[in-house]
């Protein structure tokens, strides 16, 4: 009698460094869900995985780089975007994805976010927004909703909040979308879209931090956050980004807000150099040294 063993392999396993699992994320955290979406987007995109690079900053979301089975760089706090800029300009054949958190990208790295969008550097930014600094224990950030309690605003947040899609849009991003970890299909589709879209693309993903944000703010467990995302999200593709600001318990406008074309940094640079230098301009492409 022969015994057949059923080998169950999750289809996203080839995209993960399985020798690093289990990961560090808490039960109920949404970051893993987004990584699942990203892996499926890569699977569906048929991208050459040897040429997809993930660059992260610091924080819980910054740990994504360590779990994807791709060339991946875990850089310094806030500086994933300028690192990615150097990587992309030195080797334009790479598909460069910046995967990091709201504090990393919008606070300490906020300057780089707006300038990379302005320059239209051909990189894809996936910003996991859990409304707080989670790795360090739940401090306030520029996305913390008004009145939310954090360790550094124990009596409730009172600073005005960044509306990240509005910021990315105003700075010049060619693709701006927002989804939540409830919207796994839409998020997967959006991630697939930006892998094929030239220019600076920005996706904000709302993601629960049950340990440090929801619990402390009496917003329930991870499942309650999912139910909130489900009940309060309204899909409004093309919504003016000025109208998609978030609040602690209010409506969440999701969708693809911006999808436009404009020449990216290298195209602008090459056109200008060629127009001024003519035949003297050396267009090298990849700068790999020997």
């Amino acid at each position: 009698m022969s015994v057949e063993t059923l080998q169950l392999v999750n289809p996203v396993e080839p995209f993960l460094r399985m020798d690093r699992i289990p990961h560090i994320w808490c039960p109920g955290c949404g970051i893993g869900t987004t990584v699942n979406c990203f892996a499926r987007a890569l699977l569906e995109s048929k991208a050459d995985l040897d040429r997809v690079v993930v660059v992260s900053g610091i924080g819980c979301s910054g740990r994504v780089a360590g779990y994807v089975a791709l060339d991946s760089f875990h850089t310094t706090h806030g500086r994933a975007i300028p690192f990615a800029t150097g990587l992309k300009l030195a080797n334009p054949s790479l598909s460069v994805v910046v995967y990091s958190g709201d504090g990393d990208l919008a606070a300490i790295g906020g300057n780089h976010l707006i300038h990379a969008a302005r320059r239209n550097i051909d990189i894809k930014v996936i910003c996991i927004n859990n409304f707080i600094y989670a790795m360090t224990g739940g401090q306030s950030g520029p996305t913390t909703p008004l009145t939310a309690v954090t360790t550094t605003m124990p009596y409730g947040a009172y600073e005005p909040v960044f509306n990240l899609p509005y910021l990315a849009d105003a700075a010049g991003a060619v693709y701006v979308a927002r989804w939540t970890t409830f919207h796994v299909r839409q998020l997967t589709r959006a991630m697939g879209e930006i892998l094929h879209k030239k220019g600076f693309c920005f996706i904000e993903v709302l993601s629960p931090c049950p340990t440090l944000y929801e619990r402390r703010n009496k917003l329930g467990e991870a499942l309650d956050t999912m139910l909130y995302y489900k009940a309060s999200s309204k899909v409004r593709h093309g919504a003016p980004t000025s109208e998609v600001a978030l609040s602690k318990k209010g409506e969440i406008i999701v969708g693809k807000f911006v999808d436009r074309q404009r020449p990216d940094y290298l195209e602008l640079m090459k056109n200008q150099m060629a127009s001024q230098l003519g035949g003297k301009y050396v267009d090298t492409g990849c700068l790999t040294c020997s």
């Binding site: 060339d71 760089f73 300028p82 150097g86 992309k88 300009l89 780089h112 050396v282 790999t288």
Partner: protein
């Protein structure tokens, strides 16, 4: 291997140190620079911005020095040879990425055309106040290589050397100019490309499956690969094992940090680069570097004319410090005289290496101009008589 002739402006030039540094970088094979404007260093990247489109490469002016100093690291992992250029305030902002480059063993060059500090200090005037910062500025333990040119010709020659050392040891290299050397115009001879030796990137020879990004060779330096080559590397500033994976334990920390330190410090003897003169009969040795060495030369000449037995030791590679050479000399001479455009930085190293075997006299200067040779001469006379 030899330099790529496309980057080499062979000929005799009359240019300043900043421009010569740029030509050195191009000759060394740098095809990527990121910078942020700051006096008195900006001419280096201005020239690079003008030259690179006809050589083939990219210059990008970033939004600040934090960005510039990590954009170059991204470019290196993308395959390029890359550098950034700054002065004091920008150098302070770059410290975190010097540490990241040391930790991730990213070969790159940081040029610092030093000006008076602290803070905004003297933007247009010289100092040598960042010498200890170059060695110790980023947090944690690591080693560093730093060079100090004293002429535009050396700005060219030693920039190439800086890139070569960065590749050989896979470490960030500090190129410590100063405002006077940066803005001094002199003859610079750029040789033909086939007379310029280039240390190639230490690319891994193993196939992807067998390669571990931080498994070192016998010289403690691991071979490197670039993103996009199919190796699926993970690079982190966290303490990491040979696979590049984060490892939060004291054993891996000890192994990694000791290696980062030892790969340069064990090579310290090979790395010594000093200019020596009249040390055979010297009873006093003037130890100097950068622009101060040229002022000190006048003091040495005057002292020798007075019959004082004075020798010269000029530090060209400043870090690692030529400790052994100073120790040897300390057993033979009466004293070291150490003029520098700061209130006493490298003199502490001289004193430490001399370990009491010879006297060490500091000739400090807060910067803003160079020493008066008479002040150095006075110190020589004081110990030489």
């Amino acid at each position: 291997m030899h330099a790529d002739p496309r980057g080499v402006l062979t000929g005799v030039h009359f240019i300043d140190g900043d421009q010569a540094c740029c030509e050195g970088a191009l000759a060394a094979g740098a095809r990527f620079a990121a910078g942020y404007p700051i006096t008195p260093s900006t001419e280096v990247v201005e020239r690079f911005a003008a030259r690179i489109p006809t050589v083939g490469g990219v210059f990008i002016q970033m939004e600040d020095e934090l960005a510039a100093s990590i954009t170059i690291l991204g470019a290196v992992w993308g395959g390029a040879k890359a550098f950034t250029v700054t002065s004091g305030p920008g150098f302070s902002l770059m410290m975190e990425h010097i540490g990241y480059a040391a930790m991730t063993e990213t070969p790159c060059v940081f040029v610092n055309v030093q000006r008076g500090g602290p803070s905004t200090g003297l933007p247009t005037l010289p100092a040598q106040g960042d010498m200890m910062q170059a060695r110790w500025g980023s947090h944690g333990d690591y080693s560093i290589i730093a060079l100090s040119p004293n002429s535009p010709q050396e700005c060219f020659d030693l920039t190439i050397h800086a890139f070569n050392l960065a590749e050989q040891y896979r470490t960030p290299v500090m190129f410590m100019m100063d405002e006077v050397v940066g803005h001094m115009t002199e003859k610079v001879v750029i040789p033909p490309a086939d007379q310029i030796a280039i240390y190639p990137r230490r690319h891994a020879q193993q196939p992807a499956g067998a390669y571990q990004p931080f498994l070192p060779g016998p010289d403690l330096v691991p071979p490197m690969v670039h993103a996009g080559e199919g190796f699926r590397i993970h690079i982190t500033g966290l303490t990491h094992d040979e696979r590049g994976y984060p490892a939060m334990n004291p054993e891996v920390q000890d192994r990694l940090v000791r290696r980062l330190k030892d790969k340069v410090e064990r090579a310290a003897d090979q790395l010594v680069l000093c200019e020596e003169e009249n040390l055979e009969d010297a009873s006093v040795v003037v130890v100097s570097y950068g622009i101060t060495s040229r002022v000190a030369q006048r003091a040495i000449d005057l002292a020798r004319a007075e019959g004082l037995k004075v020798g010269k030791l000029r530090l060209i590679i400043v870090w690692p410090f030529p400790e052994k050479r100073i120790r040897e000399l300390a057993s033979k001479v009466k004293a070291f005289v150490v003029p520098e455009l700061n209130l006493g930085q490298m003199v502490r190293e001289v004193e430490r290496a001399a370990a009491g075997a010879a006297k060490t006299i500091s000739v400090p200067h807060a910067g803003g101009t160079v020493h008066r040779p008479e002040d150095i001469l006075a110190a020589i006379r004081e110990v030489g008589r």
